[in-house]
């Protein structure tokens, strides 16, 4: 499995640390409902198909990435800097 880091280019999976669902980029506002916070903290989809995760280029440039991949085919469909994803429509 290889991931194309937007900074470093195509790299081996062993250089990356997997953090989890990119939901972390959609943190609720402080006055959002307890249900929103409950979902943010505890509820995760487990899709058979395309999913978006946060990965850390730990052994490389040190950037956090949002990686889009397919859990069925194991295709890696793309990666963007998490800072860019957070600024845009995350």
């Amino acid at each position: 499995m290889r991931i194309t880091c937007p900074i470093c280019g195509e790299r081996d999976r062993r250089e990356f640390y997997y953090q989890g669902d990119a939901v972390a980029l959609r943190r609720p506002d402080p006055d959002d409902t307890p249900e929103d916070w409950d979902a943010y903290l505890h509820l995760r989809d487990n899709p058979a198909g395309v999913t978006r995760d946060l990965w850390y280029h730990e052994m490389g440039c040190g950037a956090w990435l949002v990686v889009t991949r397919n859990t069925v085919t194991h295709e890696v469909l793309g990666a963007v800097l998490a800072s860019d994803a957070a600024r845009g429509a995350a």
């Binding site: 470093c8 280019g9 790299r11 250089e15 280029h57 730990e58 052994m59 440039c61 040190g62």
Partner: protein, 189 residues
């Protein structure tokens, strides 16, 4: 009354990260320690002009991602996201306005692997593509060397600068020695 005990003469001798482990010569390959001088991590300030300051103060081009500039006397090595390493001279004070400067001198072990087959040695330890078309002289990468966070810079076709945290120097030399022996043993194939 007893005489006060004499303080024994104490001599402190600086040691390098790799110390007596290097140099090594195995087959066509040499592994030697590099005294890098000052090491300064530079994190460019947003909207700053680090490139112009670096050029004016040290005669170095600011390297983009994956690139290294300069010579043995002074290098600028891309060192990760929004980081450039200044190797050699003490940083000119003018740089401080353009980048956050952190002195990391003595924090890294720096070695030079040189000779025919140097890329074959590294290929046993790192997952990056070292082919000259992809990783020519002047190219650098933050990557791993056998599970250690490392920085690898190609200085010439058969010469690489390899950096790991100073605390891992013994592991680095061990792993490189093993790989050098493996490549040397197959030299006749």
């Amino acid at each position: 009354m007893a005489e006060p005990a004499k303080t024994p003469a104490l001599t402190l001798t600086p040691t390098t990260p790799c110390g007596a482990m290097l140099p090594l010569r195995i087959g066509t390959l040499t592994l030697s320690e590099v005294d890098p001088g000052h090491l300064t991590a530079m994190a460019p300030r947003q909207g700053g002009a680090l490139g112009a300051a670096l050029s004016a103060a040290h005669g170095l081009d600011l390297p983009g991602p994956g690139r290294a500039t300069g010579t043995d006397a002074a290098r600028a090595i891309w060192f990760g996201r929004a980081h450039v390493l200044l190797m050699g001279p003490a940083p000119d004070p003018s740089l401080a306005a353009q980048a956050a400067l952190t002195d990391i001198s003595d924090g890294w072990a720096v070695v030079r692997l040189e000779g025919a087959g140097a890329a074959a040695v590294l290929a046993r330890l790192t997952p990056i593509d070292l082919r000259p078309t992809v990783f020519p002289p002047g190219q650098t990468a933050r990557t791993e060397v056998f599970h250690m966070q490392a920085a690898i810079t190609r200085l010439a076709d058969d010469a690489f600068l390899i950096m790991v945290f100073r605390s891992m120097s013994q592991t680095l030399v061990h792993d490189l020695r093993t790989a050098m022996e493996g490549v040397a043993a197959r030299a006749g194939d």
